[in-house]
Amino acid sequence: MTGASSRIRCYRLAVREWSDGFFTSPASARPLAAFRIGLSAVLLLQAVALAPALAELYGDRGYVQWPIIRELAPAGVPRLNWVTDEFALLGADPDQCVRGVFLIYVAALGCLLIGWHTRAAAAAAWLGHLALCVSGSAGVYGVDTFARIALFYCVVLPVGHTVSLDWKAGRVPAGPTAAARLGLRVLQIHLCIAYLAAGLTKAAGEQWWTGEAVWLALNQPTLARFDPGWLAAVPWVAQVACWGTIAVEAGYPFFVWLRWGRVPWVGLTISLHVGIAVFLSLAAFSAVMIVLNVAAFLVSPAADPPRPACEGGDSRALVLTTRGPS
């Protein structure tokens, strides 16, 4: 009994030591900074593309008018009519309010990009994105789901703790922190869950085993960039593409944790998203996913760059060898 209980205690200690190292050993915030910069850059570019059609896509008299949206969107979530109702008392036009919220969202993304009052900027960007997406919920697609999640992570994770104006001004802690490690793990585990779910859902559909899924996707008029007719003559190519997609997505949560598997698997995943951008015209979605992959698994959390010398700041370079797996 005594031997068994001491063995159990040893296992517990080992597990605790491993989990402490895995989740909270101090790490650089560089991967999170890459996540912040990449995400805000992509969303800013997407905002430029959306700007010419704001009223049509998000306005109260847009393509899908707000009374219909109210029936479709969940209750109690911030939306544009909360703003328009308030400003209507001041005589503001709903379309002006939509433009105002959009401008605040874009400004917040700009502040997030440069890391100026990062957490407040992230909160403003997240709320602005949420309000736009709820009011334009009839037109949202995959990129909006990931953008909303990613912006929320920017609110709660220390994404501005390096390579930011906050870091340069000494407003945030310099050097490796447990919070940065935990934030990185949250991002990594979330990606693993997302890819596993995507892979398993595809594996549940017959079209993904016969190759018809890729054939049908490439034939969607809004997505197709090339005439896919040739594919019907070589159906095995579509089948290999389908099986490859399932393998890459379902294998993601297993291979990215292996020392030898991480770079090749993330490389395969990025190739998959490049393919989606090229062949299915889903550029913004692919760019967000590539940013997430690069930040979560390819940017080293091992060492911080030196903070530039400034008043009140720590100008020393901090290099730390982390205990847990990166």
């Binding site: 896509l57 393509y63 029936e71 979530v77 037109g139 909303r148 969607q220 594919l231």
Partner: protein
């Protein structure tokens, strides 16, 4: 709000059919012309319009949502074309044959699944004797 309830089954478990909306408009003089919801939009806008048209229920029993969406799209057209008095909304689904059917000669094409006509009430003529 955080996206924690999001699903990740893009194009899964099966790839659906694309839906588009086309419009035939007519003015008081009987002139007719065509338009599309996504006309003039860039790819990011077209993707969003694709999501909107994809909301159109395939189930004819969902009469209210079908009518409301068609009315909303018709209103967009009346706003875009101030001279139009009548808008016919046509919802079409892009049907893609399987690869085997394609090899046998079948080709993808748009199939109409819904049509509705929306007309503005006749404009009031000015009262007699007033400028």
């Amino acid at each position: 709000m955080t996206g924690a309830d999001a699903g990740y089954g893009y194009f899964a478990p099966h790839v659906g059919s694309e839906v588009r909306v086309r419009f035939t408009l007519a003015d008081n003089a009987g002139r007719e012309w065509q338009d599309e919801l996504a006309a003039g939009l860039n790819q990011e806008g077209r993707l969003r319009v694709g999501s909107m048209t994809g909301l159109f229920p395939a189930d004819p029993e969902q009469r209210v949502l079908r009518h409301d969406l068609a009315a909303s799209w018709a209103a967009t057209m009346f706003g875009r074309h101030p001279t139009a008095r009548v808008v016919i909304v046509r919802v079409e689904v892009y049907e893609v044959p399987s690869m085997a059917e394609y090899r046998a000669g079948l080709r993808p094409g748009w199939v109409q699944v819904f049509a509705a006509t929306f007309a503005l009430p006749p404009a009031k003529s000015p009262a007699n004797g007033l400028p």
